[in-house]
Amino acid sequence: MIARLLAAAAAALVLALPAAAQAPQKVVAEKSHIRFAFKQMNVPVEGRFRKFDATVAFDPRKPEATKAEFEVDLASIDLGNPEGETEARRKPWLNVEAFPRAKFVAASVKATGPGRYEATGPLSIKGTSLTITAPFTLADAGGMRTVEGQFPLKRLQFRIGDGPWSDTETVADEVTVRFKFVIPSTP
């Protein structure tokens, strides 16, 4: 009798689990983007990455239980100018041959206000891993959840633009990364 009760309790627990921790979702790539902006000779320049992958398990009621991983295919850089893209893939910049992907893991997420959150975790680019904090907003509409935010990074901390390119008078150190991820929201 006790064994049957225990088994029933265990079964109930197992059944309850998926409801507590949201199942990981893939982002809808064509509705999402990862863009970046920086200044070149004080001229604002924008670019984006065409290919990236993200798996997100996020429950707004339990942001601290978030599990999210983002991977960017660095060779998919789009600067709207082939000369710049070829240069960006080379060793002094992203060195995509040795380090094809950049990765961000949201190690902790906390609410900072209504619909506002902050993700903190390691960002790895070109063999360097640094902890960053990215604030983002969240909006649910039509079964889709939209996560949008931005964070600054210093390119030289990741050795992006080594050697003569480390001159920040021509290409600024500060890069703003803007992201938008659209994820199916499970009811």
Binding site: M41, V43, P44, L79, G80, N81, E83, P164, T170, V171
Partner: protein, 182 residues
């Protein structure tokens, strides 16, 4: 010799300042396009754009000056066809003083690079980033620039011909140190 008037110091100063900037920017443009991408190349492109904006502003100033001050008349000895050619080439030169910087600015905008004058004053983009349009504008900018370069050579050659062959004061009135001391 009848008095045909002279260019004032302002007209002469503006002419030579524009001439120096145009020749220098032509040379810089020709040099920079074939460089491989480097911080230096980015600097040269910016300098080229700043010089272009300066040439545009200087040309506007010169045009206003020219419209409000009478230029000295051409020598009476010049045949009609030469007068017509002189007028036409000057009109065309002025047209290109504006058209070359303008197409450069439009090309830059279409290529996705705003022009920020001296890295301080952002000049609004008239065009959005558009690769196909950028390719066309690049060709237009380059063709007009070659046209301007050819006209500058013609202009200088004609001035020298006036001085050496015709022995008139056409060159000397823009280069006062050439004037014979009287």
């Amino acid at each position: 010799m009848p008095d045909r008037g002279e260019y004032g110091a302002t007209a002469i100063g503006l002419h030579w300042l524009a001439a120096a900037l145009i020749v220098a920017n032509l040379a810089l443009g020709l040099y920079m396009v074939d460089l491989s991408l480097s911080p230096a190349k980015l600097r040269y492109y910016s300098w080229h754009k700043w010089a272009g904006v300066t040439i545009f502003l200087l040309s506007a100033l010169r045009l206003l000056w020219r419209l409000s001050h009478r230029a000295p008349a051409l020598p009476d000895s010049m045949p009609t066809w030469q007068r017509a050619a002189a007028h036409a080439s000057h009109h065309l030169l002025y047209l290109l003083f504006f058209a070359v910087p303008l197409t450069g600015w439009l090309f830059s905008s279409a290529a996705g690079f705003q022009t920020v004058y001296f890295g301080v004053v952002p000049i609004p983009d008239l065009l959005d980033k558009n690769k196909e349009l950028a390719d066309v504008l690049k060709l237009v900018h380059r063709s007009l620039t070659y046209g301007l370069a050819a006209l500058v050579v013609l202009h200088a050659a004609a001035a020298i011909k006036h001085h050496v062959v015709d022995n008139d004061d056409v060159l000397a009135r823009m280069l006062p140190f050439l004037k014979p001391r009287s």
